[in-house]
């Protein structure tokens, strides 16, 4: 019976652990520092997105424009910095956060002020942002990024059998953003208000929650995260390509929902969102290491998503037990 108290995060962690054990036994390379570092390095951008997106989902909204917004931020920041002669890390991050937040606030404004459903607004801004990007860039990529952005910043460097195992800067940025998001959501009154608003907007409004502020924070925070993620992605691939991030929104949305957030609002956590991203990444990583044919990738990923979501919903599939549990507690 205790197992049912694990919650979505616990179930996800168990599934990832299970997969990890299987992969450690079946491949030589899964359980190596290098592979685990690579997983974190490669997923840090997606995890930053996920940490931002979970806030919007908890507040009962949805946003599909964030990946494109990140591309816009990349372009605007790079163009501005190159025009002033290069800039530096501090300036780059501050500018990315500011522009990302603005793009997010624009969504919030449309949703709150004009009372449009969030999915419609963000479908519109998704097209608007990408369209503007294409018009102004003509689809031209920026290959000459400033030097500070070009060179990878290693945090931990360990020797490995082939090459080295290195943890890079984006992982630290991801950790800071996740901790900050988690802190606001679980340790502040404002965070509780976001959950409350997501569960029941009307009840929250009547009890004096400032709805406009909740919207502004949720979408603004996601925008800020997207800005930072965009900068980190440009840092990792060392160039800015206009269509590099478009299409990332749905896998990340799937990962966050897998991590326990619901499209109805009021549920979800940063831990869950990160674990959701990690699960999909471990599956992909495992398929590559096992040498499974790429023609079967999508099929297996789809199957794992279904299996994971079913496992984490098991307690809801057993209504009597769940009720009995609640009665007891």
């Amino acid at each position: 019976m205790r197992r049912l108290h694990l919650g979505t995060e616990g179930v996800l962690a168990l599934i990832i652990l299970g997969l990890g054990v299987v992969l450690s036994l079946t491949t030589e390379n899964f359980l190596t520092v290098q592979n685990l570092f690579d997983l974190l390095n490669n997923q840090s951008v997606n995890m930053i997105f996920a940490a931002g997106l979970v806030v919007v989902l908890i507040a009962g909204g949805i946003d599909i424009s964030f990946a494109v917004a990140a591309s816009v931020v990349q372009y605007v920041v790079m163009t501005l910095l190159i025009s002033i002669g290069g800039g530096n890390w501090l300036f780059g991050i501050a500018l990315s956060m500011a522009i990302g937040t603005l793009l997010g606030l624009f969504n919030a404004l449309l949703i709150y002020r004009f009372r449009i459903v969030s999915i419609i607004v963000t479908i519109a801004t998704f097209n608007l942002y990408f369209g503007l990007l294409m018009v102004f860039t003509g689809g031209v990529s920026i290959y000459d990024v400033p030097d500070w952005l070009y060179y990878a910043v290693p945090l931990i460097d360990l020797p490995a059998t082939r090459g080295s195992a290195t943890l890079y800067l984006p992982v630290a940025v991801m950790a800071v953003i996740s901790l900050a998001t988690g802190f606001i959501l679980t340790r502040t009154g404002f965070g509780r208000a976001i959950y409350g608003f997501g569960s029941s907007p009307e009840a929250a409004r009547r009890s004096g929650v400032r709805v406009g502020l909740i919207h502004a924070f949720a979408y603004g925070w996601l925008g800020m995260c997207a800005g930072v993620a965009g900068l980190m992605q440009a840092h990792i691939v060392q160039e800015v390509v206009p269509n590099a991030l478009i299409g990332q929104e749905l896998p990340i949305l799937a990962a966050v929902v897998l991590g326990g957030a619901t499209l109805g609002g009021g549920r979800g956590s940063v831990t869950g969102a990160l674990l959701g991203v990690l699960l999909l990444a471990v599956v992909q990583n495992g398929l590559n290491l096992l040498g499974v044919t790429p023609y079967a990738f999508r099929m297996i990923v789809g199957f794992i998503i279904l299996a994971a979501i079913t496992c984490s919903n098991l307690d809801k599939l057993l209504p009597q037990r769940a009720m009995a549990r609640e009665a007891r507690s």
Binding site: N29, Q238, N288
Partner: protein, 325 residues
């Protein structure tokens, strides 16, 4: 005084030129879209060859990649009475009627990158899909000595052109390097630097004998090279494929990208003019002919296959990148 002499001289030159143009053709080429590096280079080739042959040759670049704009441009050219119309079609089907109209008026019609076009005198291809794949395979075989395993990236598992190139390369390798193994089936990651980079990191780890990566999709070559560089294995794992010279320049010089092949739009521009001129002068084209610009060709129906791969490597990359390609 001086100025008037100049004007007279200029006028004389102009009239002189038009008088000469009576027995020389006018060649006009309609690009897919104007103002992008690829077609800027093609325009350069058209002008260069026009000057070399002393004929009037120019390119028209529509403002967007819209077949309707190409139709209008071709109609204008028919009205203007040019002798040769060349076109790189945005949409073969849409252009068929207007090309038929041009041919009915005795205008010579040439296409490029469109072997399926029907209402043409000839279509020419700088390199066949078969050869493009095989050139990469040969490069891989040469640089790895046929040892170890290799991986193949394509833009998508269902992109026809990419998979045709990949098929040709894999077939060549299984025939000529039977001991070389393909590490896994081909991966559809070559349109994304992120995906190809992540996949490459995994493959390096999973296959200790990985010797080379061929990417038939321009972002895949860059992503694979970044991963190989990150692992400090530049030169040990050979990375090759299609890529845009400007994007890959730094990596080629660092020795991370071994090389690659594509075709040269500048040469294609020259070929339009040279081929048009030859046909205008009544020249016939047969299989195995040695044509100006295109060299020895294979004729398949009305499609001319030249064998002009453009090698991207340490020596050629800067020049091509400077062209903006």
């Amino acid at each position: 005084m001086k100025r008037s002499i100049l004007i007279v001289a200029a006028l004389a030159a102009t009239f002189g030129a038009t008088a000469h143009a009576q027995d020389k053709p006018t060649v006009a080429v309609v690009a897919k879209v104007g103002g992008i590096p690829w077609f800027n280079a093609m325009e350069q080739g058209i002008k260069d060859e026009g000057e070399a042959l002393g004929i009037d040759a120019y390119m028209i670049g529509p403002t967007s990649a819209d077949p309707a704009l190409q139709v209008r441009a071709i109609e204008d050219l028919i009205a203007r009475g040019v002798d040769v119309i060349g076109v790189v079609p945005n949409d073969r089907q849409v252009l068929e009627p207007v090309l038929k109209k041009a041919r009915d008026q005795g205008i010579i019609v040439l296409t490029h990158e469109s072997p399926e076009s029907e209402n043409v005198d000839y279509d020419f291809e700088m390199i066949s899909a078969q050869q493009l794949g095989e050139e990469h395979a040969k490069l891989l075989a040469d640089t790895t000595g046929c040892e170890g395993s290799y991986a193949v990236y394509v833009g998508g598992l269902s992109v026809p052109a990419h998979n045709a190139w990949a098929d040709a390369a894999v077939n060549w390798l299984s025939e000529h390097c039977p001991e070389m193994r393909q590490a896994a089936d081909r991966f559809g990651v070559a349109e994304s630097v992120d995906d190809s980079r992540n996949t490459t990191l995994d493959l390096i780890r999973a296959h200790s004998d990985l010797a080379g990566i061929m990417s038939f999709g321009s972002q895949g070559t860059i992503g694979a090279a970044r991963a190989v560089k990150e692992r400090g294995m530049a030169g040990e794992i050979k990375v090759m494929g299609l890529f845009s010279p400007g994007q890959g320049r730094r990596l080629v010089h660092e020795g991370v990208i071994t090389g690659g092949f594509q075709w040269n739009p500048l040469e294609a521009g020259k070929a339009f003019v040279a081929l048009g001129n030859r046909l205008y002068e009544g020249g016939e084209i047969a299989d195995g002919d040695d044509l100006p610009v295109l060299g020895t060709i294979e004729l398949d129906g009305h499609t001319i296959f030249a064998s002009k791969p453009l090698a991207l490597n340490e020596e050629t990359i800067d020049e091509l990148a400077d062209l903006g390609l």
